[in-house]
Amino acid sequence: MLLDNVSKIYKDGSLALDGVNITIKPKEFVSIVGHSGAGKSTLLKMILAEDKPTKGKVFFEDIDIHTLNRSEMNDYRRRIGMVFQDFRLIPNMTAYENIAFAMEAAGRTDEEIAADVPHVLELVDLKKKMHNFPSQLSGGEKQRVAIARAIVNQPDIIIADEPTGNLDPVNTFEVIQILKKINDLGTTIILTTHNKGVIDSLGKRVISVEAGKIIRDDKSGKYLL
């Protein structure tokens, strides 16, 4: 993944990103830190192609993702797993169905779904609650379902946007451990967080963002702002 001189100016004139250059190698675990409004979310939106940059390009395997057509975009998004702070589970679907939906969207067969979903739920230790709706799960459990949904299609990259923002320390620890385990299995992780403890304990690459610019990029960094 390569962000080449990416800038984003919103319609109201505010500068969210200012000439950002980032290269993320396969299997890397990268944390992006910064104060609220520093540009972290905008950065993720650029990577997910939720929004277009005003200037610059975003490449994934040498392809400018903002030039993809709708069908190519769907394929691209299936190669990225997303985990959000607010979980973004579909409320009227059970844990099982939420994960199955991501597989159905990727065109997987019913047999694959029946085999993989229980397996992935077991990985996040939620097999017993597979038929519970999100409203019947705790915050930590919801986040684990979201992680299971993100990894079920074996994506190349997982983007975790403040995944521990709504969790207590125990659940925070568990979620980070799961992400580390996924990374160890070969998936690239891009994590944004405000949690100093999480960053410091990871000992992985840390990119610090401030006022839309990269102010620090340490290979084995700490939470320094």
Partner: protein
């Protein structure tokens, strides 16, 4: 894979319809009201049409032939008038029948009958009642009769001139009523469709976050839309059936009312005679309305 996709879409649509019960119920109720309004407008149209036809059928003109008119000339006129495309039907009464009718009409009026007997001879000529397909066509018909028999002494008089003002006025009223009826029907249907569309748009607005999540996990636009359109179709079918059920007592009551008001068409009878067509029309309308509204409403949130 296509069959699997269709199966999944239908299943998701049914599940979503069932699990989001309150949203589904609200949508079905609003749509039912829409369909009831459309049905009532349809009923009003039926009543209006029948009443206008009724009034129209009561309008006719009488052509009185002279007492001494030759039968051949009379027959010629009757035949040619009957062949006119503007004429709906004619009733011909010969001299003898005219006399019988006259006697019957005045059976309690001994003085008139006595005077008639004293005359000895039949003083009445044959007559012909003409009904036009449209009241505005009487003028043309009258002109034709006058041209073909007015000058050679066959036709004595036509009562059109005496009734011209009334007939013209009636023709105007009928045309205006039809136009007004059509405008009212179009207006009510337009407003009802708009209300339904907005209700479904509001229902789908609740799911906008879900739609964005579905897009972020890589679901195609059609795959996201499918279940919503299925739910929309379900709203339509349920509303159609519910409307048929509600129309049953309504048409019964309207039937009683129409009898009291002297309207010739009985709406309950109409409902019973046409229930299959009515059900088909309502279900198909609801289905199209629900599917189209859902399709368009989801489109708004498929932008990322």
């Amino acid at each position: 894979m296509l069959i699997t996709k269709i199966k999944r879409t239908l299943r998701s649509g049914f599940i979503s319809f069932w699990r989001n019960g309150s949203v589904s119920l609200a949508s079905v109720l609003v749509m039912t009201i829409t369909l009831i309004v459309i049905s009532c407008v349809l009923f009003v149209g039926v009543v209006l049409n029948t009443t206008l036809k009724d009034i129209q059928s009561k309008v006719d003109i009488n052509v009185y032939f002279t007492k001494d008119a030759l039968q051949d000339g009379v027959d010629q006129i009757v035949k040619s008038v009957k062949a006119l495309p503007e004429v709906a039907d004619i009733t011909y009464t010969n001299k003898e029948d005219s006399l019988k009718e006259f006697r019957l009409r005045h059976q309690n009026d001994q003085l008139t009958l006595q005077a008639l007997d004293e005359l000895g001879d039949n003083p009445l000529g044959a007559k012909m009642s003409v009904r036009a397909k449209d009241p505005s066509q009487y003028e043309t018909i009258v002109k034709f009769i006058k041209n073909s028999g007015g000058d050679n002494g066959t036709v004595d008089r036509i009562n059109y001139d005496e009734n011209k003002v009334a007939i013209d006025k009636l023709a105007e009223i009928i045309v205006a009523s039809k136009k007004l009826g059509f405008a009212a029907i179009a207006f009510f249907i337009f407003v009802s469709v708009l209300i339904t569309f907005n209700t479904i748009r509001l229902a789908i607005f609740i799911f906008r976050e879900e739609i964005s999540v579905m897009q972020l996990v890589g679901a195609s636009a059609m795959y996201i839309r499918g279940p919503f359109v299925t739910s929309g179709v379900m709203y339509g079918i349920c509303s159609g059936l519910l409307t048929m059920l509600v129309l049953w007592p309504i048409s019964y009551w309207l039937g009683l009312l129409s009898e009291t008001l002297g309207v010739t068409v009985n709406l309950y009878q109409y409902y019973q005679d046409n229930w299959f067509q009515l059900a088909f029309l309502l279900i198909i309308s609801g289905l199209i309305l629900g599917a189209t509204s859902s399709y368009l409403a989801v489109k708004r949130y498929l932008r990322i």
